[in-house]
């Protein structure tokens, strides 16, 4: 199946749907291709998010911007923060008015718009995208980009897994809104997020930024998926014997939980919440209570064991590097939005519990959609294209026998363990990187998949690539800043007040990049 459009949007979460809406508003014909189902797929659809929604009052805006600068290691950019606050405010109001999202009203009659229930938000976004005339391809993961002779991006190819056939979209511009990478950790709603966009982008020569900020871990009741963490602010953490685990906390003490989990179980009770808070929590986050209600646990009175699930760059801040206000990448015709793109511009090296990611998905999606539409108008149609995909599609060697399941197991063994990715140490990172480089070499030379097998093969390749950019960048940041902490380099080094750009596939590289205002 071959389609032609002005703009192709890859993804189906908030960033993708805002991109599709705004590109269509610009008059572009738009195809949106999602790996899963646009409306239920991606982190937001299952999770719901707080949103950085701050009314345009000078004091409130100033406080919002100032509050996170130190946490993020002073790598954010005030001009971008201000733009995102403006854009998010307008778009969320649009969602309330045109999208009829049923925001609650506070006791004093003021509308509350600082958060979005995932299922409700994304089902409305799907309806809006459809009404805007966008062609939605569900269950249609994009597997590689197409480029024109001059190197600009001119569409993408993929596989329709329910229809059982491949597809191609020739487009004037492409927006990558494929989410971050959580390495199939089963963190809430995140198993569709395998970093595909970053691989696709890198194969056309695009760069990444902030990949060292990729060690987010969410708290969940043990053996469950629900990594919603806000309410752990009401928690006390305990050891098996019942004594309090000193220093453990959701904010500012999560690494204590990680360290303890390496050798023993950690328990938790939300025993700081009074009756009113307990009742209100149920209204705000019905999904938070799913595991407890179904396991017969009263989280306010019964101690339950917890785990930490990797959320990689989903709640990290690294991603494809953005080079202008329209969210262009370094490759003409290629735009990036949401978790697929770096979020350092607005929150530097830390986001956890911040609402910044949701605001970024809305804003960057809207900008990318608009600028992709304008770019597409200028290039016109009918360009000759060639396929840009490598690993898993077009092996460089002859040895076959690369087992995708084995590759995934190898990556997971290097990125999921707390004592490798969370509690980072240079020596450990270097050893892990050797394993990952070897995994890449075997994938690149020997993995050849077709048809339905293409999707897991490309996911595996994307995860290996992601992990290598992560650890190469983590080693290049020879200090501790934001979430990129190193046990062997504690403390912030003022001389390293820069971002880290990375890229490359067979040869991975990283270089410092000045923080510009």
């Amino acid at each position: 199946m071959t389609l032609t459009a002005d703009v192709l949007v890859a993804g189906g979460g908030p960033a993708a749907t805002w991109a599709a809406l705004k590109a269509a508003e610009e008059g572009a014909s738009v195809v949106l291709a999602d790996k899963g189902y646009c409306g239920t797929s991606g982190a937001t659809a299952s999770v719901g998010t707080g949103v950085w929604y701050v009314p345009p009052e000078e004091k409130a805006r100033e406080a919002a911007m100032a509050s996170r600068e130190a946490l993020g290691g002073h790598l954010a950019d005030r001009r971008w923060m201000a733009r995102v606050l403006d854009e998010t405010y307008e778009r969320v109001n649009e969602l309330a008015e045109a999208g009829r999202y049923p925001f609650p009203t506070g006791p004093d009659g003021t509308p509350l718009r600082n958060g979005l229930q995932g299922p409700e938000y994304m089902r409305r976004q799907r309806i809006r995208v459809k009404r805007a005339g966008v062609t939605i391809l569900d269950h249609s993961p994009v597997t590689e980009l197409l480029t024109a002779a001059d190197g600009s991006v001119a569409g993408a190819a993929g596989y329709r897994r329910q229809a059982g056939r491949s597809f191609e979209v020739r487009a004037g511009a492409v927006v990558l809104a494929t989410g971050g990478c959580a390495f199939l950790s089963k963190a809430f709603g995140c198993n569709v997020n395998t970093g595909d966009g970053a691989l696709l982008a890198a194969e056309t020569g695009a760069e990444l930024s902030g990949m060292e900020f990729s060690n987010a871990y969410g708290i969940a009741p043990e053996h469950t998926s629900v990594t919603k963490t806000a309410f752990y602010n009401y928690a006390t953490f305990y050891r098996a014997g019942g004594e309090v685990l000193e220093g453990a906390a959701s904010q500012g003490g999560r690494s204590v939980i990680a360290r303890t989990l390496l050798s023993e179980k950690v328990f938790c009770k939300l025993d700081q919440a009074d009756d009113a808070a307990q009742r209100a929590m149920r209204l705000a986050q019905p999904n938070f209570f799913l595991p407890f209600d179904r396991l017969g646990i009263n989280p306010f009175t019964d101690p339950f064991s917890v785990t930490l699930l990797a959320e990689g760059t989903v709640r990290g801040t690294g991603g494809i590097r953005i080079v202008d206000d329209g969210c262009a990448t370094t490759v003409p015709g290629l735009y990036a939005a949401g978790d697929a793109a770096t979020r350092e511009l607005i929150c530097g090296g830390f986001t956890g519990g911040g609402s910044h990611n949701a605001a970024w998905a809305i804003s960057s999606g809207s900008w990318a959609g608009r600028s992709a539409a304008r770019f597409a108008r200028a290039v016109g149609r009918g360009r000759q294209v060639s396929a840009a995909g490598g690993a898993g599609l077009r092996p460089t060697g002859t040895s076959a026998n690369v087992d995708v399941v084995e590759v995934i197991r190898t990556v997971q063994a290097e990125v999921l363990p707390y004592d490798k990715n969370y509690l980072r140490h240079g020596d450990v990172l270097r050893t892990a990187l050797k394993e990952l480089d070897a995994a890449w070499d075997s994938v690149r030379s020997g993995l050849h998949a077709e048809g339905a097998g293409l999707v897991p093969a490309r996911q595996a390749a994307a995860m290996v690539a992601h992990a290598r950019w992560m650890y190469t960048s983590a080693l290049a940041r020879d200090e501790s800043r934001g979430m990129a902490r190193r046990l062997d380099r504690p403390g912030l080094d003022p001389a390293q007040h820069h971002r880290i750009t990375s890229g490359g596939l067979d040869e991975v590289w990283a270089r410092p990049e000045e923080v510009t205002a």
């Binding site: 600082n114 979005l116 705000a284 986050q285 799913l290």
Partner: protein
């Protein structure tokens, strides 16, 4: 993981097959959804939220449950009110008020706004 498809309750609308982000279901010859790839289930509860007949149950565990578990017992799930409970709580379904409109949670700091998600 997805643990129950109620053959009795299902109205064969295909919704779960369509919405599952990780493509866990197939459609059987009789139109009923079958769990063909349970190991791909990401325990996101989306199928359950979207089933108009409350005919699905997702257990919170991210590993499959042994045969004979109460989570496979429709009668038990109905009696305990668990079947269809997510849908009820988010206010989806005819005659219900969307949960989003009453989602006023606690404020996490004395000066902060209440959480609404």
């Amino acid at each position: 993981m997805i643990e129950l498809v109620s053959a009795e309750g299902c109205i064969t609308c295909d919704k779960c097959i369509e919405v599952c982000p990780t493509n866990v279901f197939d459609r059987a010859a009789d139109g009923l959804p079958v769990v063909s790839r349970q190991s791909d289930c990401q325990t996101c509860f989306q199928c359950e939220a979207n089933c108009p007949a409350d005919a699905l149950f997702v257990a919170p565990q991210t590993h499959p449950l042994p045969e004979g578990s109460p989570e496979h017992d429709e009668e038990h799930l109905r009696r305990t009110g668990l079947l269809g409970s997510y849908r009820r709580e988010i206010g989806w379904g005819r005659g219900r008020t969307p949960g989003a409109s009453r989602a006023i949670g606690p404020a996490l700091s004395p000066t902060g706004p209440p959480l609404i998600s």
